[in-house]
């Protein structure tokens, strides 16, 4: 692959936007153009709706989109993770069927991994998949499934072999949630939102062409997903959006955000809203309290250091260096930041931190931070699991003793 420079990419995307960006298009028309041109997911391969750009240059494209006020592909959501998995493990049939509609956001996705009996220990899944000669028949239960109530498809980890060792009896499927054998029941969270669900399967069907990779290789595929998930969790946000954003396409985008992105609307709060801290300290006068000043300084130091660490990791990647330790700790750092931010917001807010909703400061945003932050250190792999990963994979410390070897059938479980 010939090396393409930042300036070339910038010029190209700028020209393309000048010729194509139009606020009177429908969101779907525009997203189709993104899929056709490859500018929606420029790091994807050319033959699959991308431009084969190095990841390091994606930022340039994002900056140009932001400067032009152009709408991009849907940010966040599980579709992106599913796409990453399909690009790596999917068949051409699967890529063709699913990738384009992920870019256009016509399909919403969810991740059917965690179960009541197996969260951190995902490989302990007991949802079963049995082949009946025509279809895979799914029975069991998933839980904490974000967005399942909106989703058309889910990436499903299910057990296909009970006599194989735990990690070898799993298979990865793409499941259509809109079918009679699937029941989605919203679960209310401690912050009052209901963005995750319980999902029950009773003889739900998956056609064989929706099996990803091979029977028994589900764990390997799931590991790909989890690696992407942790990488996305390093807290680097979308570039800021400028301009009035008026016109048909913006309205459609806002409607999309209001529905599809509804489960994620409290996510900025769960990250701690570091951006509000100094503002709040000034508006409340808490900036005169030397203790608060110390805590703000600590928090900002943590937040800036984590941001720079993520940039160091990307810069090393751009230089083609092997991944160093700085690439593995973003998720853990994000937990520390969120907790520290919640503490500082409490100090700043004082007694009013006893209130919630419209009675509380900033129309409930501060209260929402306080009751949302606990999710950060659990979702997408708990802090303890991150520490295990860092200790074993980065520091090369000895593995835990294991008690779950041998046929899965005989392994102790919940």
């Amino acid at each position: 692959m010939s090396k393409i420079s930042e300036a070339e990419v910038r010029a190209e995307v700028r020209q393309w936007l000048a010729e194509n960006w139009n606020t009177n298009l429908s969101l779907l028309e525009w997203r189709n153009k993104l899929a056709d041109s490859g500018w929606g997911m420029p790091q994807w391969p050319k033959e699959w709706y991308g431009r084969g750009l190095p990841v390091a240059l994606v930022r340039v494209v994002e900056e140009e989109f932001a400067a032009a006020g152009a709408v991009g592909v849907l940010r966040g959501g599980i579709g992106r993770l599913a796409a990453a998995v399909l690009l790596e493990h999917g068949t051409d049939y699967q890529k063709k069927k699913f990738l384009r509609r992920i870019i256009t956001a016509e399909d919403t996705w969810c991740q059917l991994f965690s179960e009541p009996g197996s969260g951190s220990d995902l490989a302990g899944a007991t949802t079963r998949a049995d082949f009946d000669g025509t279809n895979w028949i799914i029975n069991g239960q998933k839980v904490w499934t974000t967005s399942a109530h909106h989703a058309k498809y889910g990436t499903l980890l299910a057990r296909t072999d009970w006599d194989a060792p735990k990690h070898e009896g799993l298979t990865y499927f793409i499941l259509d949630l809109k079918q009679p054998g699937v029941e989605v029941r919203p679960l209310r969270q401690m912050n009052g939102h209901a963005s995750f669900n319980q999902v029950f399967f009773t003889d739900a069907k998956v056609p064989p062409e929706h099996l990803v990779s091979t029977v028994g290789n589900g764990w390997q595929v799931a590991v790909t997903t989890l690696a992407f998930e942790r990488r996305f969790a390093d807290g680097t946000g979308a570039p800021s959006r400028r301009g009035p954003r008026e016109g048909r396409i913006y309205e459609e985008e806002r409607a999309e955000t209001a529905t599809v992105m509804e489960p994620y609307k409290w996510y900025p709060q769960r990250a701690g809203r570091v951006d509000l801290v100094i503002e709040r300290a000034k508006e409340t006068g808490a900036n005169r309290d030397p203790n608060v000043r110390q805590e703000i300084a600590r928090l900002m130091t943590l937040a800036r250091s984590a941001e720079w660490t993520a940039r160091r990791a990307r810069a090393a990647q751009r230089q083609g260096k092997p991944q160093g330790p700085e690439g593995s700790l973003g998720k853990l750092a994000a937990s520390h930041i969120a907790r520290a931010a919640a503490r500082v917001h409490t100090m700043i807010t004082g007694t009013a931190a006893m209130l919630t909703g419209t009675d509380s400061p900033r129309g409930g945003t501060i209260a929402e931070i306080l009751v949302s932050v606990p999710a950060v250190s659990i979702a997408g792999g708990t802090d303890e699991i991150q520490r295990n990963i860092i200790a074993e994979r980065v520091l090369d410390l000895p593995k835990e003793p294991r008690f779950d070897t041998g046929p899965f059938r005989n392994v102790r479980r919940n």
Binding site: L302, R304, W308, T309, R312, L329, R387, L397, P398
Partner: protein, 385 residues
């Protein structure tokens, strides 16, 4: 980049998140040199001496590596590099715990001269420092140990066409061996200015203090009508402030070098030491502690590296970030040192185990140039919170 007197091939124009190939090479040359010259046995030998350094090693690192002038312009005998390269040097020196008057001469005194002096003075003073021929120290703090330049009470007064200094300076790093003293003093009319004086001039008495960290020697210096030369103009406050901010950046990098070294030693001990029939590194309490230490050290590195980059390009935010890096690195280093001892168990508390050498450096660095709380408050002020 491994030799002096070679111009920077490409002056950094904007903040970089990775070191260049050249910088990495320079680092590994330096690391090899230090592994050879400053193993813990040498650190122990030198820290027990009054001088606290080995003149032969100092000569080598000056002549072969050009370290004391790494960040000084070539016209004054330096190598013409900047804060990023200075940060690499201090990081490696901190890792190796090299006993040498580098921080005093190159970081504090040379920068003070660069920031305050007239062209003529720079040309007269800097080449000897860059060549390692002279040692210098910055006399700032007084008996109260305050690092805030606005707290200076020590007086200088005009006398017979020159100036005389009166009072006591303390906590002067390498003050006992410096040939040249750069002294911060208050003039009549309350301006803070910088002065230079040879340390063997009349009216100067120096006393080596007993320092908890024997690798960082401290002196108390009494001045009685000691003659001195004004460095630059009569308002040296800004130059002194800039010097201290540069020193905070350099110290932050020195600290992360030491912290990284400790982390490595804790990890390798955890892999080797067996209890209850398994390596202690297989216990989660230890694994998780080490993972947390890694996060701590990496975040502090990011702060230290970024501050050096920001200073190198004169980003307007850099003085604030210097304080941020100093506070972050101090906390990370002290925590890492304490946990490294904990992971070593009883042996970690012995004199024979090397951990305490870095532990003590962490402690002295924590308060040197101002405690973390002081720097966090400076950060808030500089951000106008």
């Amino acid at each position: 980049m491994s030799t002096a007197n070679q111009p920077p091939s490409r002056p950094a124009q904007r903040i970089q998140y990775a070191f260049t190939e050249e910088q990495e090479q320079f680092r590994s040359t330096l690391r090899r040199f230090l592994e050879d010259k400053s193993p813990p046995t040498e650190v122990r030998r030198l820290m027990a001496t009054a001088e606290g350094y080995d003149p032969a090693v100092w000569r080598q690192l000056s002549e072969h590596l050009g370290l004391p002038g790494i960040h000084l312009p070539q016209e004054y005998g330096g190598a013409g590099f900047g804060m990023v390269e200075l940060g690499i040097v201090t990081e490696e020196l901190g890792r190796a715990l090299l006993c040498a008057p580098f921080f005093s001469t190159a970081v504090l005194a040379a920068n003070a001269i660069m920031n305050a002096a007239t062209e003529e003075q720079k040309a007269a003073l800097l080449p000897d420092l860059a060549a390692g021929a002279h040692l210098a120290a910055l006399a700032l703090t007084e008996l109260d140990g305050n690092w805030d330049p606005d707290a200076i009470q020590f007086r200088a007064s005009a006398s017979g066409g020159g100036y005389v200094l009166d009072g006591t300076k303390s906590y002067v790093v390498d003050g006992h061996i410096a040939n040249l003293l750069v002294v911060a003093a208050r003039l009549a009319g309350d301006k803070v200015a910088l002065f230079t004086t040879p340390s063997d001039g009349g009216g100067i008495t120096r006393e080596l203090l007993q320092s908890m960290d024997p690798t960082r020697k401290l002196a108390r210096i009494d001045f009685k009508s000691a003659r001195a030369q004004l460095l630059g103009g009569e308002d040296g406050r800004a130059a002194l402030g800039r010097t201290l901010d540069q020193a905070a950046v350099a110290l932050a990098n020195e600290m992360v070098g030491g912290a990284q070294k400790l982390l490595e030693s804790a990890v390798s001990y955890a892999k080797m030491r067996v209890q209850f029939g398994r390596p202690i590194g297989s216990f989660q309490a230890i694994k998780h502690k080490l993972a947390d230490m890694l996060v701590d050290v990496e975040l502090a590195k990011s702060a230290a590296y970024y501050a050096a980059q920001a200073a190198a390009v004169e980003d307007p935010e850099w003085p604030a970030l210097a304080s941020m890096a100093k506070a972050a690195a101090s906390d990370a280093y002290v925590r890492t040192a304490a946990e490294t001892i904990q992971i070593h168990g009883g042996i970690g508390f012995t004199w024979d185990n090397d951990t305490h050498l870095w532990f003590k450096r962490a402690k002295s660095s924590e308060v040197f140039l101002g405690q973390p709380n002081y720097h966090r408050e400076l950060l808030m002020q500089r951000w106008e919170v």
